[in-house]
């Protein structure tokens, strides 16, 4: 009887827990959580990583991540990450945030952490809606898009315009890396991973503020099936939230954190 050599080609990252089964079918959070875990493994930093779970659906990130997690108050993750990495620079910190968390209630914390050039990884999941609270308008909700608090569609005359976070942060002196990806295909997921890898590298090397925005579906609160949600994302979100790299200071450079830069 011959033996067959089996080689494992795909498995659970060490930095991922098996019991993480919380998000809705077709949700982007699970994919992004996994990418973070893979990178924590690849950089070999699991034991000195601290993930920040925000207020939003991903408050349950600790059910997925097999490394230390703290849950921050709504929008305050960048301030918490600042406290963590300044007090213990050996820690690799991942600030994971949704659009309401990062671009509404936490706008000030985000802009100032970016401007100070704080060295942590910001993972920004833009699903154009408030997921956890049941589908209210987010700062990234598209013009005309419906939500429970803009039932006739977002009217910019009353509700303002969707905020493009990468573009907003682009001018700040402390920023080392800014990119926007989308989790709508295996190829694009790999691009997101490439962006995140750079963000991790820069954060570990203390090069300045890094943020990867990930355009991601929320089928539940968009009122769609997962395939419909992916179509809607591709046909509506990507024109306004254009994927690409918005800032990269390069491997060699370090941001100059100076006022007026």
């Amino acid at each position: 009887m011959g033996t067959t050599q089996m080689k494992q080609v795909f498995g659970m990252p060490e930095a991922m827990k098996a019991e993480g089964r919380f998000y809705c079918p077709g949700c982007g959070h699970g994919i992004v959580h996994r990418l973070v875990s893979e990178l924590v493994d690849e950089f070999g930093v699991r034991e000195r990583t601290v993930g920040i779970a925000p207020v939003g659906c991903s408050v349950f990130a600790d059910l997925y991540w097999n490394f230390d997690v703290v849950s921050a108050a709504h929008g305050r993750a960048p301030a918490v990450a600042t406290g963590i990495t300044r007090a213990n620079p050996n820690v690799v910190c991942v600030s994971y945030q949704g659009d309401g968390d990062l671009a509404a209630i936490g706008t000030a914390e985000t802009i100032h952490a970016a401007n100070r050039g704080e060295s942590f990884v910001t993972v920004f999941v833009n699903n154009a809606i408030y997921g956890m609270t049941g589908g209210q308008m987010a700062p990234t909700t598209l013009i005309g898009q419906k939500s429970t608090t803009c039932q006739l569609g977002r009217d910019p005359a009353i509700m303002g315009y969707p905020i493009r976070v990468c573009e907003l942060l682009q001018t700040l002196g402390g920023v080392a890396f800014l990119a926007r990806g989308v989790v709508d295909s295996p190829k694009n997921v790999l691009t997101v991973k490439k962006y995140l890898k750079k963000a991790f590298q820069y954060a570990i090397d203390k090069k300045g503020y890094t943020l990867v925005e990930i355009v991601s579906p929320c089928p539940t609160n968009w009122g769609m099936t997962p395939p419909e949600a992916m179509d809607w994302l591709q046909n509506n979100m990507l024109d306004y939230f254009k994927p690409g790299v918005y800032r990269d200071i390069g491997e060699e450079a370090t941001v100059e954190v100076e006022p007026g830069n």
């Binding site: 034991e47 997690v69 007090a87």
Partner: protein
Amino acid sequence: MSEKIPIGEKVLMKGNEAIGEAAVQAGCRAFFGYPITPQNELTAYMSKRMLEEGRVFIQSESEIAAINMCFGAATVGERSMTSSSSPGISLKQEGISYMASAELPVFYVNVNRGGPGLGNISPAQSDYFQATRGGGHGDYRVIAFGPSDVQELYDFTMLGFDLADKYRNPAMILADGILGQMMEPLVLKPYEPIPDLPSKQPWRLGDPSTPDALLITSLILNPGGMEERNFMLQKKYETIIENETRYEEVMTDDADVVIVAYGTASRIARSVMETAREEGIKVGLFRPITIWPYPYDPLNKLADRVKNMLVVEMSLGQMWEDVRLAVEGKARVHLHARTAGGVPVQTEIIRDLKKVLASKDGEIVRNF
């Protein structure tokens, strides 16, 4: 630079700066603050001293950010601190509540100014309720000191860091603009931690010596879980009440009337007591040193012998409520209260003391 700080010696220092130096000596690793009068000397002092010591100082974008930076520093087990004055302390309540729930230590200072609202920059004690009732949302308490001189600002800053660590709970000083800005001699005692400070190693995050994934959160959704945590916190608060209640009694033995006052108001009360005694009025002083835990029991005992108490405070009857709670009707509790820059005046307090002694059963003397 630290050689220039004459540790162990008697020096003249501003209250706000004494707090800062005590924090540096106590090993505060990071200071996060936002400008507001009348605590600006403290932030300015820390901006210089922390960098000299190779530690962290950030002028944050807001008080909300500052307290959340403390939250972050606490999760990795480092001592951190923030300070502000009334409107800024209101903004910090979010973070303080989260830290109380997640059992994270932090030390902070409120150099109380006139309120409500933007108020004014004059001394006041009107954040007493906020300091002694937790201050933010939820069932929690913070350890709160009400120091009355610059030496105590220094001493209780060191003790505040220790007690915050010991009980894994926020601890604070409630001061006011007079204490913060006045110059007074003090001895720069070397820092000696209290005995048996527990190690933070078992719970701090990002520490490779604890490879298992740890979680620090104030969110508990499973049925009964949050109530259980609250009962656990209450147990801890009971231990704090038992171990950490501090107060001072001065000449209460033969007193016909006792002034109850803390902080700046107690300084005035002390000189009132001396003058009044020269006039033959037998006055004593009861001074809460911790305003939470509050010395309810000692006050209650005192009310067995002393049937009239005059609360002197720079808030409109906030501590008066606690004294009435403490004495359980065994003594009459009178009130002399000023606020928002109104500072109690010796002659007016003595006038009220005389009214108290002339008052009839059931009568309560109040200055407003």
